[in-house]
Symmetry: none
Subunit: 415 residues, 2 copies
Amino acid sequence: MIGEIIAIGDELTSGRILNTTSGYAARKLFDAGYTIHAMSTIGDHPELIGEALLRAIGRVDFIIVTGGLGSTDDDITNEAVSQALERPTLPNLTILARIREHLKRGPSPNNPLEKLAWLPDGADPFDPVSRIAGYQLVHQDTPIFFLPGVPEEMKDLMTRAVLPKLAAWQAGSALQTRQRIFKVFGLAESEINLRIKGLDLDGEIKIGYYPVYPDVHVSLLLRSTDSSQAAERFEAACLRLEEVLEDHVYGIDADELESVVGRLLSESNRTLCAAESCTGGLLAHRVTKVAGSSDYFLGGVVAYANELKSSLLGVSPETLTAHGAVSPETASLMATGVRSRCGADISISITGIAGPSGGSIDKPVGTVFIGISSSHITEIERLQFSGDRHRIQAMAAHTGLDLLRRFLLRLQPLT
Amino acid sequence: MIGEIIAIGDELTSGRILNTTSGYAARKLFDAGYTIHAMSTIGDHPELIGEALLRAIGRVDFIIVTGGLGSTDDDITNEAVSQALERPTLPNLTILARIREHLKRGPSPNNPLEKLAWLPDGADPFDPVSRIAGYQLVHQDTPIFFLPGVPEEMKDLMTRAVLPKLAAWQAGSALQTRQRIFKVFGLAESEINLRIKGLDLDGEIKIGYYPVYPDVHVSLLLRSTDSSQAAERFEAACLRLEEVLEDHVYGIDADELESVVGRLLSESNRTLCAAESCTGGLLAHRVTKVAGSSDYFLGGVVAYANELKSSLLGVSPETLTAHGAVSPETASLMATGVRSRCGADISISITGIAGPSGGSIDKPVGTVFIGISSSHITEIERLQFSGDRHRIQAMAAHTGLDLLRRFLLRLQPLT
């Protein structure tokens, strides 16, 4: 099935906001086996929106439209759709009731929020009792999905509503798709490509590479009508792929580095704490994004000032003077210090120079030391990252999580 | 002058690469006073490219096309343009000579690099002696600018070639654009709309609303040819807008909440530290994203486990038992505890239930207490957020930064 994506909003055509939602949708659809032929971004002009919509209806199998569903005057998607498809806007009573309940009063046709309830005839809202807008409309046998422009809401509905509905729409077809995404960190795309080429996989198996900084996601896809053999061939190909990419594959599908680390900690019944300097809490934040992380993450210290490295973590002022705050010695004392103070089984420490200033010839901007410590051993790695402050912080936290993963994989289970 | 942007490439329509060049071009053009009505992204299909180009020629004053100018088989822009505009491709002799010089040999029509020299009839290359592709073509009195898809090359040519050429094209007109973005937190878009409607602004002033979760960005724009009056009218409108939105406006243009808080701390010569539970380090991470934050941010504690709230922050076990970890009492002791341990002027504490589990009737998921403490006063706010874990953490950190901003604005300067 071939689709088209239309994003609406002056904030996009003026370049004020970078359009990230269309790319996200294209990616999700591609991963699910659909093809996108074109994407448009259109300002808040009803005629242009209508024209783009009518053109798409004629030439693709489904359409995604994002943006312009809110309550303000420049939200004109519903009006444009109504005009272009000749479908009058009608009030959705469930949405209207929710808004009035929210406003805690009776009919208030002048309240701009009520605009949210007026949808083109035939619109089927995804979730009329929630405050997130969005609906499906089938016009000339073409399903059209209208989503909010707010990236989080759009992404949520894309996964939760659009993909299942599209799959249901397509259900008549006997073609089955099997797909697995391998999440890879620490191998360049060209190296991954070389290793997979050497595999000489079954011609029907399709491999895709998606750099998702700083990872590369490798997608393995098999489309087949012959279901008996397909499962075996698919699993065999996955196995061979994992072999050549070795332990650079940290997870599959929905895995994140922090959820994999969390699983390894839970499974081995160990607790973690962190001492961060240049990452300023980013690693701890990523660990605690995972629901249930309180089972294994105790907490830690953000020791940005040198005084706190001494007072909260026990790094001696002599060490700081002799070796500097960015040194293997400081990283080691930060790791052992935070572990003993938090009473955790394993600790991680990060100290480095995120820039833009603070670099020297010996330790340029991007120099980072990461320590990992257990009761048996304390290991320190020196790393050199490039890019701006934000990129160095992101790479340091990501690499820290990957080092933790590798450390945990080597551990014997606690008995 | 109104323009349209067309980006070409399967890597964009598959979502493999995020299209950053169209947004960049739109922003540069907008800043220079042009209006972009629509942007399209199209896969490597000559018919679709030709169709988009012909449609644009009919309705706008200029067109930017990016991508597909390289030497590989999937670079098909020149071929598509040649077909759609009925302009045969002809070899540009300067480019051909450069390529042959580069290859250090005579004619080599089979070398794929020679493809770079064949351009649609009428093409006027920006820089035929450099290896960067790109040209201008005027068709039916419409200037069309063809640029490479590689972001660095495209951005370079946009500034160096397209903007001067467009300005020369437009030389007759003297329209000037003034714009300011107001960053607003804590007011719903509908409420902002209502307040601004009440202002009854000058008809030439255009207001736009852009929800950038969890903020709303309000853009105020004035286009005018009368430059003497325009500056005054623009500043007067900005002032009236700030009045009605009150202190919900936390900054303008490139300001971020963390950079505004940083500026207020620097200006008042005060230091900050943080004690976080449910946000797990997110607030500290945001503060330390700002370059130079080490001047005012000392660090802090991520006290995820209750034991650490006691051992690292001095919250008494009795308080935790009597009131719970998520309580105003605990938030208060976390704030005062972290302040005294870090020796900072001001501290912030966050404790709450990010979910998905852990809620109760009295304290449902999303309940968060935020404390701010100085040597004079400790203030605690109770907040209730909705959404998933990720959203609750993001809202708690964002609201924490906003409460810090408001606290700092009320302070007397240190003498």
